[in-house]
């Protein structure tokens, strides 16, 4: 046992380190195949932030399907980067796909088509007429009466409709099942059958998209409160379709692929560069013809087109070398040319690395960060620490208490370091203080709670601190994981928030106040649980050192409450000062401000009740559970109201979780209010020598 006691911490640390190294090892593609992970390190701009393709792919997948993994139609998992490449290059393949049937030879001739046997033509074949056909369809109602109602006209309008449908949406189809659609009404509308996983491919509902977008538009015009679940799902799906189409078109939805040729200039959307190159090339060819250097009649159509393509390539290289290099990557991928792809990626990365300097390093680190998923791994290890503590308590009878709780402590310390380092990395990548949005507040609260737990464990080494720290750490990271479903977690900050000073002071302080209040609340859980267990007699009331167990937990609870008051008050007041600095109102009674004030008031109430002797240990614990509820309200509840400066939109899952959290706390409060004598009835009868039994009531 002594041996175990000495080595248990080392064993736990070694296992955790092995696990971390295993998951953090940088991924590599096998040599001789396309280097998707290298492609993932290419920088792009989305949402105003320079980030690697890898982040773009993962966040997009998260938004579309709810997780970062993606499988090809055969069910094999593929790297997110390959999926992104397939989406970004889906266009060319589908443009060449012969799918429009045009049987009328006259119409074929009008559209400049060379007849083929099946009378099938591709979007590329239609070439310059695509835009005209689309316009025809757009103005169909107005144009139709002007033409004779014969078969050819009908055919033309039909074709125009098909072309427009295909050109706007159909050409971007990929067979990956990445769209999560989990509403029955919506599935019925899209003609889809519910299936396991509820993930659907773009191809499966592409013909319904125009109708869907129209409906979603109507839904979006309704005021927030009048929308029902179906409306919200419609809006949600339409946004995801827009994101997907933006990826496929390599532009739109704040996506910018091409870095500037000169530093400090803006990044540009890829098609814009392409269009500029074409314009320049056409101008040059026309000039050459005018100057007589080029004779179209002598050259013939095919040679002229080749010449034009040459000019385009040259113009592209002149306008934007990066755009050209990027184009080469896509072309190589389209041609399934592994060598060319790898070469193009390596060349492009070298070029951008030199160009972007420090930014490039951040992009590289972010790729590793994405792969490591440190917060996810930490959550797993926190669960491990909780298990160790459970083992320590359950095995206290056989002497596991000390070795296992020590192991848990050291494990928690290691996870804390990883967690804090990961948060630090995020801060470095963003160039921001720790808390900038709800997601990072969850990460921060986790790390803060673990720190509290470690310090408490240092003072009272009986496992309570570790248990509380590890539990809050794990739970907060699970919450963070769910908050990350929105995709980007490092979004840029609105102008009024764009001040590192106030973010670093006010926001951090308020978050620390949340943290401490939650720690106090979880200590209260522990107190109420232990109170019952000691009453029943399952846990000894005295600790080995002669310390009173319940008194110890109550002391921790009190100390943490003091910190909670200090942090939440200071944070709230700093918020007031910020408000005074930015719009001249020290206190605006905004819901989020009020939420912070409620935490302060609640903590102050507990402290005064304790000082006044109105409550004792147990009462303080019960009140601390109220602190849990109030903090839950302030953290997430106020955002749900949809008013005020801090409102970030309604989230139905969050509302349900919050209600669950309140119910749980209320239930434990109820349990905590049950007089201790009730529980003692179930325990061992107190020894007569120890405690004289009370005489029956009637005799008193």
């Amino acid at each position: 046992m002594k041996l175990l006691s000495r080595f248990a911490p080392w064993l736990a640390l070694a296992a955790a380190t092995l696990f971390l190294v295993g998951v953090a090892w940088p991924p590599r593609d096998p040599t001789g195949q396309m280097q998707f992970h290298e492609f993932g390190k290419i920088p792009v701009v989305k949402g105003g932030r320079v980030q690697p393709m890898d982040t773009l792919a993962r966040n997009s997948l998260l938004v579309l399907s709810g997780h970062q993994d993606v499988s090809d139609p055969d069910g094999h998992e593929v790297p997110p980067e390959k999926w992104l490449l397939d989406v970004m290059t889906c266009d060319r393949g589908s443009r060449q796909q012969r799918m429009f049937r045009i049987e009328d030879p006259e119409l074929q001739k009008q559209l400049g088509l060379e007849p083929n046997r099946e009378d099938l033509f591709s979007l590329d074949d239609l070439g310059q007429y695509v835009h005209q056909l689309m316009e025809v369809d757009e103005r169909a109602e107005e144009l139709r009466p002007r033409f004779p109602d014969d078969a050819r006209t009908r055919h033309l309008f039909n074709l125009a409709h098909q072309v427009r449908q295909f050109a706007t949406f159909g050409r971007y189809a990929t067979p990956y099942k990445v769209f999560k659609i989990d509403n029955d009404q919506l599935l019925a509308f899209l003609d889809l059958k519910p299936r396991r996983g509820l993930r659907y491919a773009y191809t499966e509902f592409v013909d319904k998209i125009p109708d869907l977008l129209e409906k979603a538009d109507a839904a979006a015009k309704k005021p927030d409160r009048e929308r029902d679940v179906y409306d919200n799902k419609l809006i949600d799906v339409s946004r995801r379709i827009q994101l997907y189409v933006a990826l496929a078109r390599r532009e739109g939805d704040t996506l910018r692929l091409v870095p500037p040729a000169i530093a400090d200039e803006e990044w540009r959307p890829y098609p814009e560069v392409e269009a500029d190159a074409r314009k320049l090339a056409i101008k040059r060819v026309q000039e050459a013809i005018k100057d007589g250097k080029l004779d179209p009649k002598k050259l013939g159509n095919a040679a002229l087109r080749a010449r034009a393509e040459e000019e385009v390539a040259r113009a592209r290289a002149e306008i934007s070398p990066s755009g050209q290099a990027l184009g080469e990557i896509f072309t190589a991928y389209e041609n399934h040319d592994t060598d060319a792809f790898n070469r193009a990626v390596a060349a492009y990365r070298q070029q951008t690395d030199e160009h972007l300097g420090g930014q490039a390093r951040k992009v590289r680190v972010e790729t590793l960060f994405n792969h490591f998923e440190p917060f996810y791994q930490c959550a797993i290890l926190y669960a491990g620490a909780v298990l160790l503590i459970c083992g320590a308590w359950c095995g206290a009878w056989v002497g596991w208490m000390r070795p296992l709780s020590r192991a848990a402590f050291w494990l928690l310390l290691l996870v804390f370091i990883v967690h804090a380092a990961a948060l630090g990395t995020r801060m470095w990548i963003m160039g921001r203080p720790p808390v900038t949005n709800l997601y990072s507040s969850a990460v921060f609260i986790g790390v803060g709670a673990v720190l509290f737990g470690l310090v408490l464990e240092g003072v009272f080494p009986y496992g309570v601190g570790t248990a509380v720290g590890a539990t809050i750490g794990g739970l907060s990271l699970i919450i963070a994981q769910h908050l990350a479903m929105g995709g980007e977690t490092m979004e840029m900050l609105q102008a009024v928030l764009d001040t590192n000073f106030w973010l670093a002071t006010h926001v951090t302080c308020v978050s620390a106040g949340y943290t401490a209040t939650f720690v106090a609340g979880f200590l209260a859980f522990a107190y109420i649980g232990l109170r019952i267990l000691t009453a029943v007699g399952l846990v000894p009331a005295k600790l080995p050192g002669g310390l009173d167990l319940l008194r110890m937990v109550a002391q921790m609870n009190y100390a943490v409450l003091c910190f909670a008051t200090l942090f939440s008050f200071t944070g709230t007041v700093l918020g007031g000062i910020w408000a005074d600095q930015s719009w001249g109102r020290f206190w605006g009674w905004d819901p989020k401000e009020n939420g912070a004030l409620l935490i302060v008031l609640w903590n102050v109430l507990i402290l005064h009740a304790r000082w006044g002797g109105i409550v004792k240990q147990a009462g303080m614990a019960v009140l601390s559970l109220g602190g849990n509820m109030v903090t839950g309200w302030s953290w997430f509840g106020t955002n749900q109201l949809g008013v005020g400066l801090h409102s970030y939109g309604f989230n139905s899952t969050l509302a349900v979780v919050l209600v669950g959290w309140w119910v749980l706390n209320l239930a434990v409060i109820g349990i905590g209010l049950v007089p201790i004598r009730f529980w003692q009835m179930f325990g061992k009868k107190p020894d007569d020598e120890d405690q004289p039994r009370r005489p029956p009531r009637g005799l008193r």
Binding site: V45, G47, G48, R49, T254, L255, R256, E266, W267, P269, V459, M492, Q494, A495, V496, D498, T499, W502, Q555, A559, L566, F569, T570, V573, G576, I577, Q581, S582, W583, G584, R585, F586, G588, W589, D590, P591, N594, L597, L598, L601, V604, L605, H608, A609, R610, W611, G612, G613, I614, V630, G637, T638, Q640, L641, G642, V643, G644, L645, S647, A655
Partner: protein, 448 residues
């Protein structure tokens, strides 16, 4: 944790059954026992905190339906707040699957912010007096008293800060004035407008050097309907007042048009419901009115005009001719003129690359003050206000297209703006002292 902060859960100062002769002392004891002790009881403190928590919670929920200023007035800046039962329904709708159409009438009274704040103050003063009385009685003027006071110094500083904080809020409530100043790029402005008060102005432009302006507050006009005054060149009668209206538009259908002259013949003002709810979109009520002018004495009609703050914001006014003299008439937001001028050199509005997320707003301004002989260039941006002669200018908004480019500054005149800063520093310091003393004591005991 036997250490208690304010030992008020008092063994009431033991009532010594002393001879009645020493009336002075016993009356003091009586006051302490039946006055200070109950008033300064921590039970009261806790109860008041609990009520304050509920009030803040209700006040938050009420913001789903009501504007921030309404909530301020009805919940926090009042002795008694009437809480509508509907706020609970609202809470249920957001969190508990209550159908969105549910409505419950009725309301109940609840102590408002002013009452709670006042009671907390009384409680605080009583508790501290009681503490001092008890201490001085226990120790006399000895060194021990000094130690005891020192031990509680954190508490004194902290609560002093709280008192100051609440006083600051009181000063703000009573004296703070908020208004807005819009400046078009390349132009100057020397007045701020109060968006929550309108006025009808009659301007005599005949003197080229300075305009003679008579202003009638809209509230007075609404109350009296008819305004007759020697300063006015004609009598004013209100036909219809809209406290919020849409931008005047061409008349639709065959609605009766009350206007008989001016722009009102071509455009009609359309009433809109008052802006309530969120302050996040920064919308304000824009009033319009139909007003009839009559010749003094005879009551001869000069015409019924449509006046709108929308039009006066664009610099347009109506012209009323009486006895061959032309007067400009307009309905506009109440103006407060400043003894200096702000000239907007440039307004910048940067966005993050490829997005509509605003990154920064800033106004480069030339401040010209003839009185003080000052002229300097300043930049006002988010989180960087300009403080000048008691006014503070904040970057609040900007003039939106299609109009000209320009900035909107929030102007706040609050004589008590520094109070919260001092107060907060005091509270933080107090807490630090108090908790540190505790922590040191705790660690000492652990080590011992």
């Amino acid at each position: 944790m036997s250490e208690t902060a304010i030992t008020t859960s008092p063994k009431p100062p033991s009532v010594v059954p002393e001879p009645v002769i020493r009336t002075e002392r016993s009356s003091r004891a009586w006051f302490v026992r039946y006055g200070l002790a109950p008033a300064g009881s921590l039970r009261w403190t806790v109860a008041l905190f609990a009520l304050a928590i509920l009030l803040v919670f209700f006040g938050t929920l009420a913001q789903i339906d009501e504007g921030i200023f309404t909530v301020l007035k009805k919940y926090f800046r009042t002795p008694i707040a009437w809480i509508p039962l509907q706020v609970f329904v609202r809470f249920g709708q957001v969190f508990l699957w209550v159908p969105p159409t549910a409505k419950v009438a009725g309301s109940f009274p609840f102590p408002g912010g002013q009452l709670l704040g006042g009671l907390l103050m009384v409680n605080l003063f009583a508790a501290h007096s009681l503490l001092l009385v008890n201490l001085s009685r226990g120790y006399g003027l000895s060194r021990k008293l000094g130690t005891a006071l020192l031990k509680r110094s954190g508490i004194f500083v902290l609560h002093g800060g709280i008192v100051l904080l609440m006083l600051g809020e009181l000063v703000t409530t009573c004296f703070s004035v908020e208004s807005r100043m819009s400046i078009v790029e390349g132009r100057s402005t020397n007045y701020a407008e109060d968006n929550r008060a309108a006025e009808l102005v009659v301007i005599d432009p005949s003197d080229p050097k300075s305009n003679d302006v008579v202003a009638i507050p809209a509230s007075l006009l609404v109350k009296n309907r008819v305004v007759q005054n020697d300063a006015l060149p004609f009598d004013v009668e209100l036909v219809r007042y809209m406290s919020n209206s849409a931008f005047p538009d061409r008349p639709v259908g065959d609605q009766p048009n009350p206007a008989t002259a001016g722009d009102g013949l071509r455009f009609m003002a359309i009433e809109e419901s008052e802006v309530s709810g969120t302050s996040s979109d920064q919308r304000v009520d824009v009033p319009s009115a139909y007003v009839t002018f009559k010749r003094k004495g005879t009551g001869e009609l000069l015409g019924t005009y449509m006046l709108s703050a929308w039009l006066s914001a664009e610099g347009r006014s109506e012209h009323v001719v009486v006895d061959g003299k032309t007067y400009d008439v307009a309905l506009r937001f109440k103006r407060a003129y400043k003894p200096y001028t702000l000239h907007l050199i440039q307004f910048r509005h940067d966005k993050y690359m490829g997005t509509d997320v605003p990154m920064n707003y800033s106004s480069r301004i030339d401040l010209v003050d003839r009185e003080e002989g000052q002229e300097r260039e300043v930049v006002i941006s988010m989180n960087n206000p300009l403080r000048y002669r008691g006014d503070t200018y904040y970057q609040a908004d900007f003039l939106r297209p299609p109009g000209p480019r320009g900035t909107v500054l929030q102007v706040v005149r609050n004589p008590g703006w520094e109070i919260p800063y001092v107060a907060c520093a005091m509270v933080a310091l107090g807490m630090l002292i108090h908790f540190s003393l505790h922590l040191v004591g705790f660690i000492r005991r652990r080590i011992a």
